[in-house]
Amino acid sequence: MPKNRRIKKRQTETSKRFVRLCYLAIAISMIALIISSYSLLTKGEIVYKTVYINGTGSSALPKASYAKYNITSSLITPLYYLPNDPPITTNMTFGQRLTGINTQLNSSELSIINNAPDSYFEKAGAMYLNGTFGNLVGGVTANKVPPFIVNGKPSVIYLGSITCFFCGENRWAMALALSRFGNFSALFKGYSSFGDSNFPTLYWAPGRYNQSSDDFGSFYNSKYLNFIAIDDTHPIRGGFALNPISIIEENVNATGNTAYIDSFSYILNLSRVQATAFQGTPYTIWGDYQLGGADAVDVGNSIGNNEYQLTNMTHAEVLAQLSNPNNSSFGLVEYAAADLYVAMICSSINNNAPVCSLSSIKAIESANGY
């Protein structure tokens, strides 16, 4: 064989091998992309890097150095009516709906939340424990944190946004859980934003749905715990939006309320450690436990482009499912998520409340290590 042809043949074989290598490299890189994305997401597997609020710290902040909050303060009692964000009673189309926004739940509606029977919590808890709900309940890790004590009671701290659909869906479960330890004298009908699925939800207080601002406080009372509620607001006809933390902090400071000011410092303090850092809304603290997201994510099946079953439900329909959850996936999921919150609170108050004696609550505490 002439020398030139031999060289050419060798070169062709080499280039073929190289092509195969290239294809292999592409396949490997795709797999690597998936694996690296996954490992990035698994908090426990990445380097535990402490990020200071105003700097770039690199050493872990010891738990003992968390500021311990044990304060005496009143809580914020919100207004029943906001002149710039009045209740709307006209009927509007699903997906772009504000029907009933900022109207108070009537006594029978409120009773569904305040007087939910223990049997629903028991049933849903058992279903959570046997894995019936899969991903719909308990998707976020609970991190142990020092309790935020106000007037001798631990606190539930909530930082959410009225525009956010996770918050919208999750407030139902939160309300059910909180009602086990006290009661709401008022709750308000609300929605997540048009751009964020327009879910029917509860507001703790009338929402500033026309404004970029923050809502503070609730009409909740309990002998076991405090409820500190902060809902960031933006015009509800837009999409999800969140004011920068610095703006929320300014608004919190403007309230002049020690419990709220200190609770926000506490959130900032916890955000020095990646595990307990703010990752978006809802951000909640349940006594000794912090959650970086919603504990229930039941929005119904997708029924079209970014439209879910919950989008097309009215408040009355949601409340009907909560008042009789036996055949309702949504209702049972909300009760199960509430069970998780209840279990965290029970663990934080040494199981002092009557609800803590429910067998499913005890089982969840034990199963989840609360």
């Binding site: 997401l41 990445i46 700097g55 999409g239 920068p244 850092a277 997201g293 994510v297």
Partner: protein, 174 residues
């Protein structure tokens, strides 16, 4: 070469790529893989559920345009190897735009992926909350930019292809 002729050449090369069954298969497989990658990112971000607040055609468009860019890059590598010319494809960019697209689409009220990455590189809570808010409220625009970037790079890559193809193979040893 006049611009019209250049565009015609691009079209010819595009036709040539998609007249090859292997390339069509590669395009389909990569599009599906990219779709699953985006799906995966959204699912992990939304506690195991595929929840989106964008019309799903944005995700399909992103997967398809990323796959187009990757397929052209694979063909470019193939041609450059055939002609023994050193050339780098834009395939990596398609992976980057897909991942960025996945992160953007999965970013909503709660953004564990984005925040984990940002905290990981030393961004503080103010930066993270600002980024979450910015990305979530500009999702459509950001995905649109990613799709446009894929299309522009595909156009550029097709131009590079005919220039590569026009070059004569380097004969070593002469």
């Amino acid at each position: 070469m006049p611009k019209n002729a250049q565009n015609k050449m691009r079209y010819i090369f595009l036709k040539r790529i998609f007249s090859s069954p292997i390339m069509v298969l590669a395009f389909a497989v990569i599009a599906i893989l990219y779709y699953f990658l985006i799906h995966f990112l959204i699912t992990v971000s939304s506690h195991g559920l595929f929840l989106i607040t964008l019309p799903s055609y944005f995700i399909y468009m992103l997967s398809l345009t990323s796959s187009l860019l990757m397929t052209i890059s694979i063909y470019q590598i193939h041609i450059s190897l055939k002609n023994r010319i050193l050339a780098v494809g834009e395939g990596a960019t398609s992976a980057i735009t897909t991942i960025a697209g996945g992160l953007i689409t999965s970013c909503g009220c709660s953004s564990p992926i984005l925040s984990t990455i940002l905290y990981g590189i030393g961004v503080n809570i103010i930066g993270v909350s600002g980024a979450i808010s910015f990305v979530a409220s500009n999702q459509e625009w950001l995905i649109g930019i990613a799709i446009l970037a894929n299309l522009i790079l595909s156009y550029y890559s097709l131009g590079k292809l005919y220039r590569l193809h026009a070059k004569k193979p380097k004969e070593k040893g002469r």
